[in-house]
């Protein structure tokens, strides 16, 4: 069940009404309802993988209690590693087995040894990377004595499986979400309206910008040999907007949906394309994953305490693991590596915390320096996205080579202009431009339209929402899958 489907448009109001009316404010009943709804939501994809989700939940629930109860460190470690091992084992089998088998066989073939380790014909259970990381954060927090174990299985299961975040995050922490699940939720009008507004903005990003950009990004990437350098740049730009609007759109819908139920989820995006350096970009992009890696990998590895070489080593590890988390493909690993290289100067010169606030806070426009810094950072990000989108490494390298070769040919520019005029049209570039303006105006808020129009006269404010809804209708066509569902 996709967020941008009719099925979800029917599912959500039903669960919402039952949640606030049928449970009569009893949070235990609310949690049972949320759990049943979440399992139903998940089963709509493939009911068989529901057993895997339940097993993973049971495992972390049980090992969590055991870690807490263990009196000696050795026992605690045993239960912790059991949980980590089994969780990562599932992830390894479903997500990485074929990659490792193929890479191992390729490695042996370089030495003249032919090996066929076979491949698994299994589909990747949707959301496995996300709920595995939920569970891992829970047991790791227990091991570090940051939290107490949750002994009510239903409550713990809601933490793992709450449907807005189940398939593509944000990756929640027990310290943040569990306390909200364990207390009585009261209906809050302001919160609910804000939630609806955030859902609306998320749908706009996904269905209008991301899905429209996807069409042209796919055309250009899938037939890159036929296009000139500047058209390839256009393809990379389309993909940059596609992936941002797709994933941040999903996150907005997830956060907005959760707010309808009185629950606040972790923020996942904070206008990353307005970043002035790569370190800032990574503080603003997929925040729940970046902070997960920071807290559960970077800091345990020593973080930035052990001198410059340890910092460099740990940064490379984080980015390589982050790339690998996205998928079992060398393209993701190189994407991670490239980002590690990008961030390196700021790590070495200790400038990575220079830009903590949003750019041009309290001002209308950035300074010239800030503007160029934003454009440069965006350019680097777009270059890295080519690896993320390409079908393999050689495709990405040829794509980048063709960009630079094509830049010197005048014919390249005319092909791009005719591609825009004949295929893309002017509506989409105008919409993207409008979108950037709205994001800029709303960059100090949680999401771009959080405050836009809130103080307007109601007919005007509703008029704005109607325009957004009708634009969504106009661009709605096929229910496109969200990119991050594959991870």
């Amino acid at each position: 069940m996709l967020f941008n489907s009719i099925n979800f448009a029917l599912f959500l109001p039903v669960v919402f009404l039952l949640y606030w009316f049928a449970t009569k404010g009893n949070f235990r009943l609310q949690n049972i309802l949320l759990l049943v709804s979440s399992y139903f939501f998940y089963a709509c994809w493939d009911w068989r993988f529901l057993f895997l989700l339940i097993f993973s939940t049971l495992l972390d629930y049980y090992t969590g209690i055991k870690i807490h109860e263990a009196s000696v460190r050795k026992k605690k470690l045993f239960w912790l590693w059991l949980s980590i091992g089994v969780n990562l084992g599932f992830l390894g089998v479903f997500k990485y087995y074929n990659f490792f088998a193929a890479s191992f066989a390729d490695g042996l073939s370089l030495m003249g040894i032919k090996a066929n380790l076979g491949s698994l014909q299994v589909i990747l259970p949707v959301g496995i990377s996300f709920y595995t990381f939920h569970g891992l954060s829970y047991v790791l927090d227990l091991y570090k004595d940051r939290i107490k174990p949750e002994r009510n299985f239903i409550d713990y299961s809601v933490f793992v499986s709450f449907f807005p975040l189940l398939v593509a995050g944000p990756i929640e922490r027990a310290t943040h979400l569990l306390p909200q699940i364990l207390k009585k939720r009261e209906f809050d009008y302001g919160k609910a309206v804000d939630g609806l507004r955030q859902i609306l903005w998320g749908l706009f990003k996904k269905m209008v910008i991301a899905d429209s950009c996807a069409e042209f990004a796919n055309t250009i990437f899938n037939n890159s040999a036929d296009y000139s350098g500047t058209t390839l740049i256009l393809g990379a730009l389309f993909f940059a907007f596609q992936i941002y609007c797709d994933f941040s759109g999903y996150s907005d819908i997830a956060l907005g949906t959760a707010r309808l139920f009185g629950i606040d989820l972790l923020r996942n995006f904070a206008f990353p394309y307005f970043s002035r350096d790569i370190a800032e970009f990574w503080r603003r992009w997929h925040i729940s994953l970046s902070s997960w890696f920071r807290d559960y990998l970077y800091i345990p590895l020593g973080g930035s305490k052990g001198g410059i070489w340890m910092k460099i080593r740990n940064t490379f590890i984080i980015f390589l693991v982050s790339g690998f988390w996205h998928g079992a493909n060398w393209t993701f690993i190189i994407w991670g590596l490239l980002n590690a290289i990008y961030i390196m100067p700021s790590i070495i010169f200790n400038t990575h915390r220079n830009n903590l606030d949003i750019v041009a806070k309290g001002k209308y426009l950035p300074t010239i320096k800030e503007f160029f810094a934003i454009c440069f950072t965006f350019g680097l990000t777009v270059l890295a996205w080519i690896f993320f989108r390409a079908k393999d490494v050689s495709h990405a390298l040829i794509y980048i080579k063709d960009i630079f070769v094509g830049l010197i040919h005048r014919a390249s520019y005319s092909q791009t202009i005719s591609f825009v005029l004949d295929k893309v049209g002017l509506a989409l570039p105008l919409l993207i431009f409008l979108f950037i303006i709205i994001e800029w105006i709303g960059r100090e808020q949680q999401y771009a339209i959080a405050h836009i129009g809130t103080k307007w006269y109601r007919p005007l404010r509703w008029g704005l929402y109607y325009v957004i809804v009708i634009t969504i209708f106009l661009f709605a066509g096929k229910e496109q899958q969200f990119i991050y569902f594959q991870f």
Binding site: I6, W20, Y189, W462, Y466, F473, G477
Partner: protein, 319 residues
């Protein structure tokens, strides 16, 4: 909470009204507008599914315009025929592709499938009446809701582009230049035993019903209507319902003439697959069809006999 629900309900109600109004108004403007004109020189039109779409090259056949569209069911053929005939009095003859695979029940169910509705509904919505939409809604409410937005989008884009004609851009089908040649490999996958084991299919009542309505409409408007079967590869598996197909022609469609080109001789390389001609086959067949029309096929008393004689002549010529 109640305040929230009331506000949300009002918001949704107004949104529903705006959307409905925009859809109804845009459908009405298109339906009543002068957007369905075809060439003045067109005397014949051919409609139907992919066989018509691939087999009749209307650049070769003079006076004919092809409105065949892949997977078309007769409901849309009916809507299309009605509109084209009403808007174009110069059209005096309608050919409707009628082949063995059109009679199966499965084709009838396709009318209401998610995929089919989302593909077709938006292209024909301005032509549909209220009862049609209600009937579709009863069969598949989810697809109809989804398709409303697509239809609205299609209409709005039509106005934004200032298209002079709703039929432009192959919106309602047209000749498809098929560049495929995979018949040999398909034949190899068939069983070696060439004996046809006839089956009695379950008929698609809705699909056949709309075909009858199309025929009745043409007859009422003094437009000649013919069912036509284009060339088929002799090993096409769907020919296994031939007795039922013939029975249907002699009973339900006894009043309408059937022109059968099934046995028109073509090489395997001139088929795209077992039931579609590729561009080479379409060229040869279209030239033949054009010659027959010019030779007065439609004024002959026994048209099928004339067709058979001409096919035989081509067969001898090619040997």
């Amino acid at each position: 909470m109640k305040y929230f629900l009331r506000k949300t309900a009002i918001f949704c109600f107004i949104l529903g009204c705006i959307t409905l109004l925009l859809m109804l108004v845009s459908n009405r403007i298109i339906d009543k507008g002068d957007y369905f004109k075809i060439k003045n020189t067109t005397k014949y039109i051919i409609l139907g599914h992919s066989h018509a779409e691939c087999d009749y090259n209307d650049l070769i056949i003079s006076g004919l315009e092809n409105f065949g569209q892949s997977s078309e069911i007769y409901y849309y053929t009916y809507l299309k025929t009605k509109k084209i005939i009403e808007a174009n009095p110069q059209v005096k003859t309608v050919f409707i592709e009628f082949t063995n695979n059109r009679i199966d029940k499965e084709k009838g169910y396709n009318i209401w499938s998610d995929k089919y509705l989302s593909l077709r509904y938006s292209l024909y919505a301005p032509l549909m009446n209220f009862e049609d939409v209600v009937s579709m809604f009863i069969h598949n409410p989810k697809a109809i809701l989804n398709s409303q937005f697509l239809s609205f989008k299609e209409n709005l884009l039509f106005f934004l582009k200032s298209d002079p004609n709703f039929i432009n851009h192959k919106r309602w089908g047209g000749y498809l230049y098929l560049n495929r040649d995979k018949t040999d490999s398909l034949v190899k996958t068939l069983p070696k035993d060439t004996t046809v084991k006839y089956v009695v299919p379950e008929l698609s009542d809705p699909n056949m019903g709309y075909l009858s309505q199309t025929i009745d409409f043409c007859t009422q408007h003094q437009v000649a209507v013919y069912l036509i079967r284009s060339p088929l590869h002799p090993r096409w598996p769907n020919l296994n319902n031939e007795p039922s197909f013939q029975k249907l022609l002699k009973t339900k469609f006894a009043t309408v003439e059937f022109l059968d080109f099934k046995n028109f001789p073509l090489k395997t390389t001139e088929y795209g697959d077992l039931n579609h001609l590729n561009h080479k086959g379409a060229k040869i067949y279209s030239q033949f069809f054009d010659r027959l029309l010019k030779a007065g096929l439609l004024s002959k008393t026994n048209k099928q006999e004339f067709i058979n004689t001409e096919i035989e002549a081509v067969r001898k010529e090619s040997h």
